[in-house]
Symmetry: C2
Subunit: 324 residues, 2 copies
């Protein structure tokens, strides 16, 4: 079985690579758990630091809209694709054309590459809660229409429509999951509007100064990297029947205010890290973040086995364990 | 003021051309009703029969995805665009690539041409109730998520997301209206799955045989050409403030069963035309039509002044008056 991860050199891509090479099994075309023969990482540039030296791993670099480059990754042997490659929210807002190119035309290129395959592959597409916006109830569920208030959110909503239509046509066996904000991301801040949600935990724990651009009362729905990985694998392994005709799903997150995130940091790591946190409101970031739902639920996701984190304290402890 | 109609050689485009040349006024860039200096029809081929010989009319032919051809129609003088060009439902279902090309890439080409203009033009985009599908309540309203069950519906939902995002970015002043099935269309059947809804009235009235491919109990939401034209003009003329940040809207239609449509035909035209109607179930057509809501309402559309037809009898009488 050959698995392709686009954006595989990114943070979540790398974790999935590790998890799959270390023995996590996926359902193969036969419908049974199947060992991975080849794991292909497709990304814009070579992963740095390098990924595993496992002989099953193959790295292909190229532009996600370059159909020839993509054909080097998604080929006749491909049975599963995790499509993670994307330009994140603040970056897509700052550079409209870049966002359209990667998020819309890149997704189309991936879907069309999958469509060429002899057997429709399972395709896991990472959508986002940024697809929701406008007037929203306090808790958003599966019955609420998507009305994105950012280009990134629009691209992800369009991606879901394409994944659903390509699936209906039998070109792919698609599964789109709407992820909450991932916290705590390791490394350095990225260009997502929500990047602060990781920074305010990650930097203080490493005695580094950081800025929180939103108010303490701002409510976020968050998901740990561990639970995100669980969601990718589950989204992939669920049968087509379990998914049914609706191939989009909200992954439940932990609903929490920024203030309560900081309190959890204090509980887990004491007073000292908090000296590194400064509050500096940014209206643009606040606008984007406030347009996303701060709490949501999905009876369907729960029924299918998707799980939120139990507490912020657990999320912080897992970050210390996995990344520090 | 320069107005462009893509797909302007089509049935609704032609009607709008007539209406605008005969004196219907539109709000111009100044915010006041403004006479039309130039009316540009863009279509794949020359209108047949030819359109008006009015000197304000200019016809440009070309492929909707050909950005150079489109630039001949949407130029620096353009203040308003009605984007009607589309591959209809059954045709997009039969030829996936053609549907994607015209409905997705064509819409992108139109939006990008508008984005180049010195001032963001008003853009009226015709979406459809085909953007709804899946498990639906009996009456669909503005609170129901779109889940299209056809490629055409997916393309229209994607178009709405693009119109909303291009508007939010200030590239256009967009207005997307979700139209019910237009009944009675003049002429001959087209490749929309819903074409029968016109044929079962139009053909019998002209002593021509026709086939109804869905069951009598099938419920449709329909809108007359007259009301559709009213909706185009209203959607255009409403202020940006009246539209607000949500640039998509359900246009209310008349909810009626096929059986009641036929009964209205009998009331208006007597028993004789009904001899030309044969019932011949087609599972594909029934599946697409049954996936669309048969009744919907929009408090917002009503507040803004969009109106459904009062009765099927009126719709049939208007068709006889306008087209026979």
């Amino acid at each position: 079985m050959q698995v392709v991860i686009t954006g595989g050199a990114g943070f979540l891509g790398r974790r999935l690579v590790t998890r799959l090479l270390e023995g996590e099994t996926l359902i193969g075309p036969s419908g049974a758990m199947t060992p991975i023969d080849t794991l292909v990482v497709f990304d814009a540039s070579l992963p740095a630091p390098p990924l595993s030296s496992d002989s099953r791993l193959k790295v292909v670099t190229g532009d996600i809209t370059d159909r020839n480059a993509l054909a080097q990754a998604i080929d006749a042997q491909t049975t599963s694709v995790f499509h993670f490659a994307a330009v994140v929210s603040a970056a897509a807002e700052a550079d409209f054309d870049l966002g359209m190119r990667v998020n819309l035309f890149g997704t189309l290129a991936v879907l069309d590459a999958c469509r060429q395959l002899p057997q429709a592959p399972r395709v896991v597409f990472t959508s986002s809660i940024a697809t929701f916006g406008g007037e929203l109830p306090e808790v958003v569920d599966d019955t609420i229409p998507q009305a994105p208030q950012s280009s990134y959110g629009a691209h992800k909503a369009i991606g879901e429509l394409l994944v659903n239509d390509y699936t209906r046509k039998g070109f792919i066996d698609g599964r789109a999951i709407r992820l909450p904000t991932i916290v705590v991301r390791p490394g350095t801040p990225n260009r997502a509007a929500s990047t602060f949600a990781s920074s305010i935990i990650r930097e203080p724990l490493q005695h580094l100064d950081t800025v929180c651009p939103v108010s303490p009362a701002t409510r976020l729905a968050i998901l740990s990297p561990r639970k995100a990985l669980d969601a990718f694998v589950l989204a992939h392994n669920l049968s087509a029947e379990a998914w049914g005709s609706m191939r989009s799903l909200i992954v439940p997150g932990l609903s929490i205010t920024v203030d309560d995130m900081v309190k959890a940091l204090r509980r887990v790591a004491g007073e000292k890290p908090l000296q590194h946190l400064r509050w500096e409101p940014n209206a643009d970031i606040q606008r984007i973040i406030s347009s996303w739902p701060g709490a949501f639920t999905s009876a369907r996701a729960q029924r299918l086995g998707f799980q939120a984190d139990a507490s912020m304290d657990d999320i912080i402890r897992a970050f210390i364990e996995d990344d520090l």
